[in-house]
């Protein structure tokens, strides 16, 4: 079956383009204290915020920090979780038991609590954010990979490879990986969606980037108080942006999974 793009991929590509073009929006994100909290109009489609900056431009530019954190965090999760899951699934026995308990322990902690602890200790910064999200997501990927490797290891082709005297690394990389790669890639895409959401949540809680970054989570936390006064637009548009990117990634992942191959 030929793979066809869907609305999910369209949304993701839209925000990716916004992230790449972020510097172009800078002229509209300057302070202008004469036009504070102007409602949406022809001049400012999404209105202006409490400092008179154009909300549309800041929302588009806000895609950049997300694209700098979420994919990198997912990659770290993939590397950490992928190796741990592979070792657990292939070796079995003690290694499986040890890694399995570690995964259980990490999953038992609420993700946000874990992240808050780590970011308080490390100090909020983008690399710390990436590392923390990567670490928090690794156990979930490890579980998926472990199950996939375990299912393959029981098949006779692995036995035949062992009886040819192949090393474990060859068997894993050349025989097993091609069979489980599609499942792992789909899982990673789903995680990417959650990483966007988690990065925004941590930004909202103040553990992400510092002002004046247009980061969506940060912007929402700065402006949601204004909604009570009727200025709904500065918080609503970044929130919609976060939602649309998360949904876009999930739609793309689901479509990918349904079509059975990358």
């Amino acid at each position: 079956m030929r793979w066809r793009p869907g609305p999910g991929l369209g949304l993701v590509l839209f925000w990716l383009a916004a992230a790449l073009l972020a510097p172009a929006f800078l002229p509209w994100t300057r302070l202008d204290l004469h036009r504070v909290l102007a409602p949406p109009s022809l001049a400012h489609w999404c209105g202006t915020d409490q400092l008179g900056r154009d909300v549309l431009a800041r929302t588009l530019a806000g895609a950049r920090p997300i694209f700098e954190t979420a994919p990198a965090a997912t990659l770290i999760a993939l590397l950490l979780g992928g190796s741990a899951g592979t070792i657990a699934g292939y070796r079995g026995g003690m290694a499986d038991a040890a890694i399995g308990r570690l995964i259980d322990a990490l999953l038992a902690l609420p993700l946000i609590v874990l992240a808050l602890f780590a970011l308080t200790a490390l100090g909020p910064s983008q690399p710390a954010l990436v590392a923390v999200i990567g670490l928090a997501f690794a156990p979930l990927i490890a579980r998926t990979v472990r199950a996939a490797v375990l299912a393959e290891r029981r098949l006779d082709y692995v036995t035949l490879a062992q009886l040819r005297g192949e090393g474990s690394l060859y068997i894993l990389a050349r025989e097993i990986l091609p069979n489980i790669a599609p499942a792992i890639l789909v899982e990673a895409t789903v995680r990417l969606g959650y990483a966007v959401f988690t990065a925004a949540s941590l930004g909202f809680l103040g553990f992400g980037l510092s002002p004046p970054s247009p980061d969506w989570g940060l912007t929402i936390s700065e402006t949601y108080g204004l909604m009570a006064g009727g200025a709904w637009w500065p918080a609503t548009f970044p929130a919609l942006a976060t939602a649309s990117l998360v949904i876009g990634v999930h739609l793309a992942a689901e479509r990918w999974r349904a079509q059975g191959r990358p």
Binding site: D156, T159, L160, L163, G165, E166, E175, P178
Partner: protein, 552 residues
């Protein structure tokens, strides 16, 4: 109830352009038994599902089906449910997977009785009675068990108990004996026969095994590529098959010994593409008697009394198979031997101590019930399952019990062929990649030498070189098993250890694979150890036989 239990008239099923069943007419008399035989992919299961009105909505169905005198197609959902609840019983091919893994057996059985309006207590009492009737040793314990705690044979009895909770007019059994050993098959068919005669239930038995169907049915229908090519009384049909396909099916079952009788007849080629069935008779491309008139137009059904044959030239006698290789005697040199081997699985000795000797050019059969440790013995010889006690010898020198301690030449000398080529071939690789690896790794050839060796190995297993760049999933079952055998041959082994190598295959494909094994033994002097539950296969291929019956 009057008239036949099942009557199918002119049934055709299409999925888009693919014609799965074409103008099939078949009936099962009230209380009678009809068998439906054919290779996998010929439409047997589609027919069974049509009888349940269980085909997916995109299927285009034409023709009439009546169960116990009631037409199926005009029924609304409620009427259909009533019919399925009271008149039709169905036992699926894989009885374990047909049970809900989350519910205890007792609960699932009770459901069948509740459907008939009985109370839980009545249901439980009748469940116990029925299970006892099905010769379950401890029915109380079985009712408390979950599906994963019971054996395949027990699950099948549970399926039968559900079927006979009612007094069905019609029981449909889909491949009930696949994977059972001969004892289990016989007792299963006996139980069905007993219950049927008690309750007046008619049987539609679907199977690829003509002989098994012949033993328990009074009529047989033979399905080929969606057409019913022959239908008649079982005794007449088996004694004198009229259609070339039926007679080929009857002849390719292994019997006698290859040493005395030569290779088995096979049916060359494969099923036609259901999107483009050949015009005229669908068997034409594989039929040795096909004439010009077979390729054109509709076929007249030749009828002799109540025996219908869809063939222009019935009554053809099949030629004898080409005379095989001159029977060669086993040589004297012992290649692989085991002394006082105790096979251990999960810390328990399950077979042995036993000793065996395997000579070049000789086949040793290993038989026994399922679970007796046949496969474990084979895995012990491979070094995958180190034995509890005993010694192994390869060509006179001691062989380590653990494959990790065996040298490369020793690994190359002993090669396995497993039951299921789907699992033995890496589905992510091409046939070329699968075959190159043992040539490089075990035979120690350079890339160029290995590429040159591919061709002779393909010739050895009679595979078309055009298949080299295909993936296993796109090959037929027989081709896949040939690739698996080629993988084993690539390292230049002296011993093949075959674990039920033809169990997953159709009878006609099995015949070709068995002939191939005979050839490898007689022409190339390979020593073959064959694990099988099929006495026909063992008798055909093996010079000696050891029977494993648990610890002695």
């Amino acid at each position: 109830m009057s008239g036949p239990a099942l009557e199918i008239a002119g049934l055709s099923v299409r999925f888009g352009r693919r014609s799965i069943l074409h103008d099939v007419s078949l009936s099962v008399a009230a209380g009678g038994a009809t068998g439906l035989v054919g290779e996998s992919g010929c439409g047997k299961t589609t027919l069974a599902l049509a009888v349940l009105r269980g085909l997916p909505p995109q299927a285009e169905i034409a023709g009439r089906i009546s169960v116990a005198g009631q037409r199926l197609d005009p029924l609304d959902r409620a009427a259909l449910r009533r019919l399925r609840a009271r008149q039709i019983a169905f036992v699926f091919q894989d009885p374990v997977r047909a049970l809900n893994p989350a519910l205890r057996i007792g609960r699932q059985l009770a459901e069948s009785f509740r459907l008939l309006g009985q109370t839980a207590q009545e249901g439980r009492r009748e469940s116990l009675a029925l299970l006892a009737r099905l010769r379950i040793a401890e029915p109380e314990r079985l009712l408390r068990a979950y599906p994963h705690e019971i054996s395949g044979g027990q699950a099948q009895r549970v399926g039968l108990a559900m079927a006979f909770a009612k007094r069905p007019a019609l029981l449909v059994l889909d491949e009930p004996t696949t994977g059972l050993d001969p004892d289990a098959t016989a007792s299963m068919l006996d139980l069905v026969a007993g219950l049927r005669s008690e309750r007046g239930t008619a049987l539609l038995l679907i199977s690829h095994d003509l002989a098994a169907v012949g033993r328990s049915c009074d009529r047989i229908g033979v399905l080929y590529a969606g057409t019913l090519v022959e239908e008649g009384p079982a005794s007449a049909l088996l004694a004198r098959p009229r259609h070339p396909y039926t007679s080929a099916l009857a002849r390719c079952a292994p019997r006698g010994s290859a040493r005395r009788r030569g290779p088995l007849p096979t049916i060359e080629g494969g099923l036609p593409d259901p999107a483009e069935p050949p015009p005229g008779c669908r068997f034409t491309p594989r039929c040795p008697f096909a004439k010009r008139d077979c390729r054109a137009g509709a076929l007249p059904a030749a009828t002799r009394l109540d025996h219908v044959v869809l063939c222009n030239h019935p009554d053809q006698a099949w030629p004898d198979p080409p005379g095989g290789l001159p029977a060669s005697a086993p040589r004297e040199d012992v290649v692989l031997s085991a002394e006082k081997l105790s096979v251990r699985r999960q810390g328990r000795v399950i077979a042995g101590p036993l000793s065996l000797r395997l000579r070049a050019g000789e086949t040793l059969g290993v038989s026994g019930r399922s679970g007796s440790g046949k496969s474990s013995l084979l895995r012990s010889l491979l070094g995958l399952l180190p034995p509890a006690a005993g010694t192994l010898n390869l060509a006179g020198s001691p062989l380590a019990p653990d494959w990790r301690q065996r040298r490369r030449a020793e690994l190359a000398a002993i090669q396995p062929v497993f039951q299921n080529p789907d699992e033995a071939l890496n589905r992510a690789l091409t046939v070329r990649a699968i075959l190159l690896r043992p040539l490089r790794r075990l035979a120690g050839l350079s890339r160029a030498e290995a590429a040159r060796r591919l061709r002779p190995i393909l010739d050895q297993v009679r595979l078309d070189p055009a298949l080299l760049d295909r993936h296993p999933r796109s090959l037929s079952g027989g081709q896949r098993q040939r690739v698996a055998i080629a993988h084993a041959l690539a390292s230049g082994p002296r011993v093949l250890l075959c674990d039920e190598p033809t169990t997953a295959l159709d009878l006609s494909v099995q015949a070709a694979i068995l002939n191939l094994l005979v050839e490898l033994r007689d022409r190339d002097g390979l020593a073959i150890l064959l694990v099988s539950h099929d006495s026909g296969v063992i008798g055909f291929l093996c010079d000696h036989e050891i029977h494993i019956g648990g610890t002695q």
